[in-house]
């Protein structure tokens, strides 16, 4: 019974909650700027509007152009099924699934980049090249962080990495956990093209990364892109939220509300970071990513040092 409730809550939250996070981030930024800001549910209205529109396709595009948003959306959805959102076992789990998790995100990125290249626009090619470059640098940081978690929990699936043992890991190796959470938070920002890596609101093609890749998408395809991006934000935020608020309980009445609140907190945190920081110069982005690698790598090394 509890497993059933967990499954339903997991899928419902994964499907319905992502745009809310965007709304919370926008609202936080508005509060910092002293504005009222768009309604919390605005991202939902936008998506509904986009899905009702028709599509205009460029004559240079092929099937890849439409496959891009679709594959991306489903890849991040499946990745979301691997994460134990509330600390209870995830719907999909097996030993080593954190590698699948990382490469599902990479698959989504690959297809977004392909769709961008398919349009034949030079701007979109530039965006794709940047996105892929930064992803290359972000991947080692993600893996080192997950390795540290795997070492701490002794398991190889995300359910073990982020499940009930996280609280124990904080007690056993607090410095490592701080470093890993810091590194993964930077990954969260770069993977979702948030400030300081990319400004989701910018409309200057020369400086855009993620947004520039989807310039040619319109209507339902753009809706799928935006929804996929929101789900990706949700999935990676869930990883960070699990590590920051490691509540483990058997009762759905407790752990699901805790999860929702911790997700909203992460969204507010992202909003605060975006409000107080400026976008980095493109040349400085690799330095910050290298910093993320160092953070998670140092966390991992600390574990090796203390256990031997």
């Amino acid at each position: 019974m509890i497993a059933m409730i967990d499954l339903i809550a997991h899928v419902l939250l994964l499907l319905l909650m992502p745009p809310l996070l965007l709304g919370v981030i926008v609202k936080t930024k508005a509060a910092f700027a002293g504005r009222v800001g768009a309604p919390l549910l605005q991202p939902y209205y936008d998506l509904i509007k986009l899905f009702q529109k028709g599509t205009v396709l460029s004559r240079t595009t092929t099937w890849v152009f439409l496959a891009g948003p679709t594959v991306t959306l489903f890849a991040v959805m499946v990745a979301g099924l691997l994460v134990p959102l509330s600390g209870r076992p995830a719907p999909l789990r097996f030993a080593g699934d954190f590698i699948l998790f990382a490469y599902l995100l990479a698959l989504g990125r690959f297809f977004t980049a392909l769709a961008a290249l398919d349009t034949g626009s030079s701007f979109e090619g530039m965006g794709a090249s940047r996105e892929v470059t930064f992803a290359c640098l972000a991947e080692p940081a993600l893996f080192l962080g997950l390795l540290a978690l795997a070492r701490l929990s002794g398991g190889l699936s995300l359910t073990a990495l982020l499940g009930g043992q996280v609280g124990g890991a904080w007690i056993a190796a607090a410095p490592t956990m701080v470093l890993v959470v810091g590194g993964l938070f930077i990954i969260l920002l770069v993977e979702n093209s948030r400030i300081p890596f990319d400004d989701p609101n910018t409309h200057l093609e020369l400086t855009m990364i993620h947004e520039v890749m989807v310039l040619d998408h319109g209507g339902p395809a753009l809706g799928a892109v935006l929804y996929g991006a929101a789900v990706k934000l949700f999935v990676l935020s869930a990883v960070v939220a699990r590590l920051m608020v490691p509540v483990a309980s058997e009762r759905p009445v407790i752990h699901w509300p805790v999860f929702v609140v911790s997700m909203l907190l992460v969204a507010v945190l992202i909003g605060v970071v975006e409000s107080v920081m400026a976008r980095l110069r493109l040349l400085h982005v690799p330095n910050l990513l290298l910093g993320a690698c160092l953070l998670t790598g140092l966390g991992f090394i600390l574990l090796l040092g203390s256990s031997s």
Binding site: V178, N287, G291, L294, G297, L298, I301, L304, G305
Partner: protein, 213 residues
């Protein structure tokens, strides 16, 4: 208590990386000063309870490493025309990577060493070795004299961390002597920097390798 020491040592390691990756000399000075404060608190945290010795070493270290020397360096900065280390011998990213390798290596090395009287935490020895190596990297790869002084300071910070481990066994005078040595060395270097900049209108030590009449 041990986890607080661990956290401080991790902070020290992170500050090492920040110094390796930063090009602004002012922020490096602030970072080294911050490291000095952490190191000053270390003897008190490691040897639980505050005796007179710990207090004197602690206050002396903070005063010297975090206040006096950074202030002298800042004063030197106001006279110098440089604000940044622009062209180190190896780039910032490479030196960051070198720093990471050095940290990993010192973790491995410390695991192999016979354990010294393990007061405090297991991180003390590796953190000390990593900081010494970081100072060494800065000292050898940067060109500006002032950054080299900062490298020397970090090197000494590493030695200080090691000294914390032996605070019980080491005579008080030795500790104070080390701090005094450091002070004199920085003082001399400060004078040298000033002279270099006055004579050659540049503080790049590379220029010193060519002799002039």
């Amino acid at each position: 208590m041990s986890s607080a020491v661990d956290a401080m040592l991790v902070m020290v390691l992170l500050l090492n990386f920040f110094v390796l990756g930063s090009s602004r000399i002012r922020s490096i000075i602030y970072t080294v000063a911050g490291q000095g404060v952490l190191l000053g608190l270390l003897p008190v945290m490691v040897h639980e309870g505050i005796g007179l010795r710990q207090a004197v070493v602690s206050v002396g270290a903070i005063g010297l490493k975090a206040v006096i020397i950074p202030r002298m360096l800042m004063r030197a900065m106001t006279d110098l025309p440089i604000r940044r280390e622009i062209q180190p011998l190896i780039g910032f990213r490479t030196s960051l990577l070198l720093g990471a390798v050095a940290t990993a290596a010192s973790m491995g090395l410390a695991a192999r060493l016979p354990t010294l009287g393990s007061a405090g935490s297991q991180l003390l020895v590796p953190a000390s070795l990593a900081t010494i190596l970081t100072g060494f990297i800065i000292l050898t790869t940067r060109i500006k004299a002032i950054t080299q002084v900062l490298g020397y300071l970090i090197l000494e910070n590493g030695v200080f961390i090691f000294g914390v481990l032996l605070l019980e066994a080491m005579p008080f005078l030795v500790e104070v002597g080390v701090l005094l040595d450091l002070f004199v060395a920085i003082f001399v270097m400060g004078i040298i920097i000033n002279h270099i900049s006055r004579e050659f209108s540049s503080v790049s030590t590379e220029r010193l390798s060519t002799l002039k009449e």
